[in-house]
Symmetry: C2
Subunit: 202 residues, 2 copies
């Protein structure tokens, strides 16, 4: 019986995921950040095991073979991956865990954890998207078509997530995130699991 | 484009629905209570149009014929019904609306408003249910079976709702309700509707 949340957060760069996650970690003591492994060299401010697990390319590729990653990606020539055992251990410790992954990573995590909470964070993009679409009649046909196609792709990606949070005022964004986390604990599927466990004596 | 919420709250009598709804109405200015029609005579404290619309049995039955009710029920020999035009008017005025109906009523409302937010409020019942099930081995076989059947029926009812809120400490219950309302406004289906409207120029 495991009713603590696995929270997946995705969104375009510049949406402010880092800042939002940092604020959440401060406000929710039982929330843990999923520390990824990477082959990128550490920046001066970054700490091993707290920001990332810094490993070699050979090591990373061996771990891919050994299926140690829930998901991984290559960004600017470096590997980044979510460690399966890290996530499972935190869940076993009854901790909530928050993951910062791209949309492909999110899709893979959904396969293994269909009950996870998927949040797509956007900044002004979301409103720009609307404005772009609303204003499309003032542009030439090719530009319009390109914008519509871009917008549709963005919508397709967002559509796979449970929630879309528009990060304009950080304080409001944090309130949205906290509300989502609190509300998700009242979700019927989660609440009933406790009772159904008792029913089937699990 | 109508993104304000229709909130349906159900639960056994004694769960505290009235108190919870009253507290919510105070805290959320844009929230309106769906005033039902009834054939029950008014109590001294009750006001026409604010607690109920008090109407005759003939009137109620005529309105049933005219499909003026989203749902109706008979309780202790009196009719109670949710007025379709009342709900639609409030939604058109961009108000959030909260309905207090039984589970049969909830099911009917779900048919017309699949996007509504369905909350099941329970008091200690929920924990008693667990305790009952957990302790079932200490009882005789017939009693055990009866309790399991009762519990299964309760679970079936609750299972149709989006959220289960356990009302033990009113203040926490209100926080749960406010979180659900805030989180639901971030639901992808609702957020995307705004953009998709722009996309299809609706």
């Amino acid at each position: 019986m495991n009713n603590n949340l696995l929270i997946v957060i995705s969104g375009p760069s510049g949406a402010g995921k880092g800042t939002v996650i940092e604020a959440l970690l401060k406000q929710i003591p039982e929330l843990t950040f999923s520390v990824s492994a990477t082959t990128r060299p550490p920046r001066p401010s970054e700490k091993e095991g707290s920001d990332y697990f810094f490993i070699s390319k050979d090591q990373f590729e061996a771990w891919i073979e050994q299926q140690k990653f829930l998901e991984y990606a290559v960004v600017h020539g470096h590997y980044y991956g979510t460690l399966r055992h890290f996530v499972l251990e935190k869940l076993a410790e009854k901790k909530e865990i928050i993951l910062d992954v791209d949309v492909q990573g999110g899709a893979r995590i959904k396969q293994e954890f269909p009950d996870a909470v998927f949040i797509f964070l956007v900044s002004s993009t979301f409103h720009e998207l609307k404005t772009r679409l609303i204003n499309r009649r003032t542009e030439n046909e090719a530009a319009i078509q390109e914008r519509i196609e871009d917008a549709k792709e963005e919508l397709r990606q967002m559509g796979k997530y449970d929630y879309i949070v528009v990060n304009e005022v950080l304080e409001e964004t944090i309130k949205d995130m906290l509300a989502i986390i609190r509300a998700e604990k009242c979700r019927t599927t989660r609440k009933l699991r406790e009772v159904q466990c008792a029913l089937s004596a699990c």
